[in-house]
Symmetry: C2
Subunit: 257 residues, 2 copies
């Protein structure tokens, strides 16, 4: 039986604990500076809670560092284990763990919030390891929770993380701005929900370039002008509208030349 | 039995024909300048095809103008019917039909492509009419195809259209740019699909503001700097990244003050 430690008690730590608790993997210890959240997570997955990495079981097969990038560096040097150390960051190079001979990256490409944990089985897990035996072990772990395991090096992973920010953070920000725009007019964001779902569905079944519609693509300046007029009291959104509209226009203008 | 005419043979015309063909509404005529597409659509819904609005059945209860905004104005003046005339535009005021006493707007808030027609039942239909009796008739038509019928005036509809452009056109453009970014690195857009689906799913069940994550929200300048470095060869996307990042940052900075 593989035994793991999880360092952290945030969204990623909850996701790992929740996912592995459904398998034959044993969660040995949870370590967190946040005693309340750490204890809660440890209770939820029948693990020991410790407040300091020095208290973690040295015999665990792998320690997952599920912390923010800047916190990972601090913890790495405190970890005295000789077994595998893995981080779950999209942007941090595997080299950040170079104090450990057997090191790995275990990066689930998904937006994760602990109050609404996603099912891991459809989530791409991006793996990288410092040697073949370490890779074999992290792969066997990833296979236990997901059907979509990929070998991705640190540079490739950075591009996936950047693309993920674009399709999640940026897209969600557009939802936020649309919600705000409608709310100020006493209109309901609910009416946009079927459109939001359909937009995502289409991107998953056909190339996004072929799904593009709208005034910017067809250079419908009359509609764009009307939209900008509606945004006269909203300088911030107006500038963003202009910037994205220009970007769509340029891309599709290039297509036609 | 209600009888309708449809003017146009583009995405919206196909959507209306497909949706009403499943009800007890009779599609009397299809009118299009595009003979090939118009005939194809007429054949698909057992309607007569005409190439000129003068050839349409004057006794139909309602004529839907499913054309681009700039083409609607041209057709309005050629239509000699005394029954209801409705357009399907998001931005055009109902006044554009003022040559007709019984006029209406019938605007399905959805992205529609004729090769992959959406099921109308979950699509919000935004209605407006020049008088009570006209509204009653267009409402009874909308009820036949959708469970989500809303009374929305021309000004409100413009805000919905603008918000729709943001959550569909702009969002899809981000998918296009992410696809392009990954393709240039020989990486696969497929890995983003679970994230795209989850981002949309979350927006439909909880307030987008509460779903926001990522480097811009938490002011993680180190990650933002790394992302911008990856975009050094892509001036257009780099500027767009900076603009959206600033917008997210400002919004969430305001929250914390």
């Amino acid at each position: 039986m593989i035994r793991i430690n999880i360092i952290g008690s945030g969204n990623m730590a909850w996701f790992l604990a929740d996912s592995f608790a459904k398998t034959d993997v044993s969660i040995s210890g949870i370590c967190s500076r946040n005693k309340e959240q750490g204890q809660l997570l440890a209770d939820a997955c029948n693990a020991n809670f410790v407040n300091d990495v020095a208290g973690l079981d040295d015999n665990a097969d792998i320690s997952f560092i599920a912390l923010r990038d800047d916190a990972i560096a601090l913890v790495v040097n405190q970890l005295k284990t000789t077994s595998i150390v893995a981080h779950c960051s999209g942007m941090l190079s595997m080299d950040a763990l170079s104090a450990h001979k057997d090191r790995a990256v275990f990066y689930p490409l998904q937006t994760i919030t602990k109050n609404d944990l996603p099912n891991a089985s459809h989530i791409p897990i991006c793996l990288e390891a410092s040697n073949t035996e370490t890779l074999r072990i992290v792969e066997s772990l990833a296979d236990k929770i997901s059907h979509h395991v990929h070998f991705i090096n640190s540079e490739q992973r950075q591009y996936y993380h950047l693309a993920a920010v674009m399709v999640n953070n940026f897209t969600n920000h557009l939802y936020v701005l649309a919600d705000d725009l409608l709310t100020k007019q006493n209109l309901s964001f609910d009416l946009l929900k079927p459109l939001i779902s359909e937009t995502a569905r289409k991107a998953c079944i056909s190339k996004p370039l072929n799904n593009q519609t709208g005034p910017a693509k067809r250079d419908d300046r009359n509609t764009i002008k009307k939209h900008l007029n509606l945004l006269n009291q909203n300088k911030e959104l107006k500038e963003l509208y202009e910037k994205i509209t220009q970007s769509i226009f340029k891309l599709h203008q290039q297509d036609e030349i």
